[in-house]
């Protein structure tokens, strides 16, 4: 009896040590929230996210879901509208997006198959209205997609220096999407991601006319990768994850870019503007807004030490922290472009 008791204690302690209070803790915390809480309704959700007079805009729906307008093209990124993600994680806010007035979506980009980035039921719901959209996924993620009416396009990834950090490109009606560097995981169900390393994660470059948008997907900070992308593409807008993070002043945390790392990515990309994503909705180990609060502090600190004196050159000017459901218009069309 005594021996059995010791074995059980040993197993428990070893398990907790192996888990590093990571997923185990996240699961336990969120399971409680899922049972007892419902997500809050987002306050201001833009009803007309797509407009005739816009050259470049972004609507952030929370976490990593964003709706991008580039002239007449509409791109939806990592659409996840579910209130409960992974079966155990309840969002803090419902997905802040209203597509009632969005007549078409040209491309839906899915960076990888993790449940906070790929929702098969959201894609199923969107299919009814937007079945003509091209569904773009990295090679490997197709393993985790059911059959849809969408034209599914699988892109070869470019996640290593060997591939110069740039993968395959697909073009449709002038809208060009390229798989670019991301260092994260494919897979969907835990072990297949973190232990088996199933392939299927990517970042994206989207180009249309004179505009270039970068979406990092999930990744860790890797200087060479982002510098290579920055030297190859003239990026107008970068969507970069800033969480989840335990210590957000580190470059990386939980195999994701943390707030400090996001600023380095922004610098390496030499992008004109950045919108931070991958925070706010889900609680991993701290307050979901903790990453963006740290980002604000880092921006203030860096801007304070640089003090260029030139308007528009500060991090604060170039990094747009937007609310869930808010539409941010970076550029409107000139009268002769309309």
């Amino acid at each position: 009896m005594k021996r059995s008791f010791i074995i059980i204690i040993f197993v428990t302690v070893l398990t907790l040590a192996l888990e590093g209070c990571g997923l185990f803790r996240i699961g336990v915390v969120n399971a409680g929230r899922t049972i007892f809480n419902n997500p809050e309704k987002p306050v201001n959700v833009e009803k007309n996210p797509i407009r005739d007079n816009v050259k470049l805009s972004v609507l952030w729906a929370g976490h990593s879901t964003a709706l991008i307008q580039m002239y007449d093209k509409v791109i939806l990124i990592d659409p996840v509208f579910n209130n409960v993600i992974s079966g155990v994680m309840t969002r803090k806010y419902e997905a802040a997006i209203d597509l009632t007035n969005v007549k078409k979506i040209d491309m839906i980009l899915v960076s990888h198959a993790h449940m906070d980035h790929l929702s098969i039921s959201t894609l199923d719901d969107l299919e009814e209205k937007y079945s003509s959209a091209k569904l773009i996924v990295p090679m490997g993620a197709e393993e985790f997609l059911p059959g849809y009416d969408y034209d599914i396009i699988r892109l070869r990834t470019g996640n290593s220096a060997k591939q110069n950090f740039v993968g395959q490109t697909y073009e449709h009606n002038g809208l060009k999407v390229t798989a670019v560097f991301a260092l994260h995981f494919g897979g969907r169900f835990g072990l297949d991601s973190y232990s088996w390393n199933m392939p299927g994660c990517t970042g994206f470059i989207v180009e249309y006319q004179d505009l270039t948008v970068f979406y990092a997907g999930d990744s860790v900070y890797e200087e060479n990768g982002y510098k290579a992308i920055g030297s190859r593409f003239d990026i107008d807008l970068a969507l970069v994850p800033v969480g989840p993070c335990r210590d957000c002043e580190e470059d990386n945390s939980f195999s994701h870019i943390a707030a400090a790392g996001a600023l380095k990515v922004f610098d390496d990309l030499k992008a004109k503007n950045m919108v931070p994503v991958h925070y706010g909705a889900l609680e991993y180990s701290r307050d979901p807004d903790y990453p963006v609060n740290v980002l604000k502090e880092l921006i203030a600190k860096k801007d304070g030490s640089r003090n260029t004196g030139q308007s528009g050159d500060t991090y604060k000017d170039r990094i747009k922290i937007i609310d869930e459901g808010e539409l941010f218009i970076f550029e409107e069309l000139d009268i002769d472009q309309k």
Binding site: R3, S4, I7, I8, F10, V11, L14, T15, L18, E19, G20, G22, L23, N82, V84, G87, I120, S121, D124, G140, E142, E143, F144, L145, P146, G147, Y148, I152, R154, T157, N159, L183, H184, F185, G186, R188, F189, G190, L191, D192, S193, Y194, S195, W196, N197, M198, P199, G200, C201, V220, E222, N252, F254, S255
Partner: protein, 199 residues
């Protein structure tokens, strides 16, 4: 017994210890095929639990037992153009719970003897079931319906087994499920179980 359960638990938790905090040098999108095959095979040894009815004209009891789920063939009804609808043994849960038909084999073993029916403790069931998505395309809930033949010798009769129909409901991407079997045999009328299955 506790030692055995602890050991199985230890293996499972060790294998499933997802390390968000692992160092960046280890992150790669090159699939570790041999690790995948070995850990998958080890995970398949984790049993599901079942209670099997054992009865005669006078008495009845439910025997606690273990069973293992093997899927030699799964045919998915919902696949995209890049993947095959037919999978052997290692079945991607996505293609299973979004709708599929599968042939399965279930070795079963009860921890105590069949006192009333005369059946042996070890048996193997083989059959076919259809998996039907119910909620969230099956990710949050799917159900199954199927039939099987249970190869299990009976020392008191000449019978070598019996037919059953089975139904099940599964949550959490099919990892956890409840199953119920109605057996066409007076000596073991039903059995039910809690299913564990990963990939």
């Amino acid at each position: 017994m506790i030692k055995k359960v602890s050991f199985i638990l230890l293996i499972f938790l060790t294998l499933s210890s997802v390390s968000f905090s692992q160092d960046i040098g280890k992150i790669s999108d090159v699939e570790k095929t041999s690790k995948k095959n070995i850990t998958w095979a080890l995970i398949q040894t984790i049993p599901s639990v079942s209670w099997t009815n054992d009865r005669n004209e006078l008495n009845s009891q439910n025997l606690f037992g273990l069973k293992w789920n093997i899927t030699p063939i799964n045919i998915s009804f919902s696949t995209n153009k890049y993947v095959s609808p037919v999978q052997f043994f290692m079945v991607n849960p996505m293609r299973k719970y979004t709708g599929s038909l599968e042939f399965f084999v279930q070795p079963e073993w009860t921890l105590s003897a069949f006192d009333y029916s005369g059946y042996q403790r070890f048996g193997v069931a083989a059959g076919t079931r259809v998996n039907i998505p119910v909620n969230n395309m099956g990710e949050h809930l799917y159900v199954s319906l199927g039939g099987k033949y249970n190869f299990r010798k009976n020392s008191e009769t000449d019978k070598n087994g019996y037919y059953s129909i089975e139904g099940g409901a599964y949550i959490l991407f099919g990892i956890l499920g409840l199953t119920f079997n109605y057996n066409f045999d007076d000596r073991t009328r039903y059995n039910f179980g809690i299913n564990f299955k990963y990939w």
